[in-house]
C-alpha cells in the first residue's frame, strides 16, 4: 500500500514534465496535413488561373480564326484541323453548306456556308467534345474583289 502511494505521484510528475514522442509526432502530422491542404489549395488556384488564361486565349483565337477563314476570298467545304499552338490548344474549322436557312417565302437560301470553329483546351482528351465553339454564316460570293 505504501509502495502504491509512492508510485502514483512519481508517474504524474513524469507526465507533467514534457511531451511524449507520440504527442510530438502527432503534432507534426497535424501541421503536415494543414500544410498539405494549403499547398493543394495553392495548386488548384494556379490551375484555375492557367485554365482561365487558356480559355481567354482560345476566345481571342476563335475570333481570329473566324476572321481568317470566313473572310477569305474563296472558301471550300470541309474540315481543317489547325495544329496545336504553344499553349497546347487545338482548333478545327468546319465549313459546310447551310441547308437549313430559308427566306420569307420558305425558299432555301443557296450559297450560304456555315463556318464553325472549335477549340479544345490543353487538358481535354482527343475524343472529347470541344470546350469552345464559335460559328458564322458566309455568303460564298462575298469578298471576291
Amino acid at each position: 500500500m505504501k509502495a502504491d502511494q509512492k508510485a502514483i505521484p512519481a508517474r504524474r510528475a513524469r507526465t507533467v514534465a514534457g511531451f511524449l514522442l507520440l504527442e510530438a509526432l502527432l503534432a507534426l502530422v497535424v501541421f503536415g496535413l494543414a500544410a498539405l491542404a494549403l499547398v493543394t489549395a495553392l495548386q488548384d488556384t494556379a490551375l484555375a488561373a492557367d485554365e482561365a488564361r487558356a480559355e481567354q486565349e482560345a476566345i481571342d483565337m476563335l475570333q481570329s480564326i473566324l476572321d481568317e477563314y470566313s473572310k477569305a476570298p474563296q472558301i471550300r467545304a470541309g474540315v481543317e484541323n489547325i495544329e496545336e499552338d504553344a499553349s497546347g490548344i487545338r482548333y478545327s474549322v468546319e465549313t459546310a453548306l447551310a441547308y437549313d436557312l430559308f427566306d420569307k417565302n420558305q425558299i432555301p437560301l443557296t450559297n450560304i456556308y456555315r463556318m464553325t470553329v472549335r477549340a479544345w483546351l490543353p487538358n481535354s482528351l482527343p475524343g472529347n467534345k470541344p470546350d469552345l465553339e464559335a460559328e458564322t454564316l458566309r455568303y460564298a460570293l462575298l469578298y471576291q474583289n
Partner: protein, 252 residues
C-alpha cells in the same frame, strides 16, 4: 522525501535537452511554413505576371480588331517595314482615319494613326502609337524616331512583332502594302512577349470598300435632292440608308 525533491527539481524549469528538442521542432515547423509561404508568394507573382501578359495581349488584340474593323470608308492601311542600320521596324498606318485610336474622346482631329514597332536594345521591340497630325506619312518616309506628333508607348518589351497583309487579288500574304486604291482583305499580326514560348498569330478582317456606281448612288438620294443620304427621310418615309441597295459586301 526523495520524491518531493525530484518533483520540485522538475518544476523549477526545463532541462537543456527539452529546450533543444523544442527548438528543433519549432525550427522544423517554421522552415516548413516558411517554404510554403515563399512558394505561394512566388507562385502568386508568376500567376499575376502571366495574367497581366494575357490581359495586355487580349486588350491589344481587341483594340486592333476594333480599329481595323471600323476603318472609315475613305481610309486605308499602309504597311511598311523601315530598315535602318540593320534593324527593321514594321509599321502599320491607318491613313485618313481620323477616328483611329481616338482614345476616350471622339475623333482626334488628325489624319489617322500609325503603329510602329521600334527596335530596342537587346533585340526587343517597343510598340508605339503615333497620332498623325497631318498627312505627313504619305509624303515622305521618315524613320520612326524622327516622326513628330503625340507618341504613346503601348507595349515596352516584345520579343517578336511583325505584320502581313493578305492581297485578295494575288491571294497571298505580303509584308508591305502601299496600294492606296485597294485594301488588303486581312491583316495578320505575329507577336511574342518576352517570356512567351512561341509567337502567337492573329488575323484581323479589313472591311472592303464597296464603291457604288454613280447611277445607283443617285437613286439613293432623296427626291428633292437637298438632304444627303442618311440625314433625312426619303420619299417613302423611311430613313435614307446609303447601304440599302448596295451589294452584300457593304452590310457588315
Amino acid at each position: 522525501m526523495h520524491c518531493s525533491t525530484r518533483t520540485s527539481a522538475k518544476r523549477s524549469g526545463f532541462s537543456l535537452l527539452e529546450v533543444v528538442l523544442a527548438t528543433a521542432i519549432l525550427a522544423l515547423l517554421l522552415s516548413g511554413a516558411f517554404a510554403i509561404v515563399q512558394g505561394s508568394v512566388e507562385l502568386g507573382a508568376e500567376i499575376t505576371e502571366l495574367e497581366d501578359r494575357a490581359l495586355t495581349r487580349a486588350r491589344l488584340v481587341e483594340i486592333l480588331r476594333q480599329n481595323i474593323r471600323n476603318l472609315q470608308p475613305e481610309a486605308n492601311l499602309l504597311l511598311t517595314v523601315i530598315e535602318k542600320s540593320g534593324s527593321y521596324s514594321p509599321e502599320l498606318a491607318f491613313l485618313g482615319d481620323g477616328a483611329a485610336f481616338a482614345l476616350g474622346g471622339g475623333p482626334g482631329g488628325g489624319q489617322g494613326a500609325t503603329l510602329i514597332a521600334r527596335p530596342t536594345p537587346g533585340g526587343f521591340f517597343a510598340l508605339d502609337l503615333l497620332l498623325l497630325p497631318d498627312d505627313s506619312i504619305g509624303k515622305g518616309r521618315k524613320h520612326p524616331d524622327a516622326r513628330k506628333g503625340p507618341r504613346i508607348e503601348l507595349l515596352p518589351e516584345l520579343a517578336a512583332f511583325s505584320w502581313r497583309a493578305y492581297d485578295p487579288v494575288a491571294r497571298e500574304w505580303v509584308v508591305s502594302w502601299g496600294d492606296y486604291g485597294r485594301r488588303p482583305s486581312q491583316i495578320e499580326l505575329t507577336m511574342a512577349f518576352s517570356g512567351d514560348l512561341a509567337p502567337q498569330r492573329y488575323v484581323f478582317w479589313v472591311p472592303p470598300v464597296v464603291r457604288l456606281p454613280a447611277e445607283r448612288f443617285m437613286n439613293l438620294l432623296p427626291s428633292d435632292g437637298v438632304n444627303p443620304p442618311g440625314t433625312g427621310p426619303t420619299a417613302d418615309g423611311s430613313a435614307a440608308d446609303p447601304t440599302r441597295d448596295s451589294p452584300p459586301g457593304m452590310i457588315q
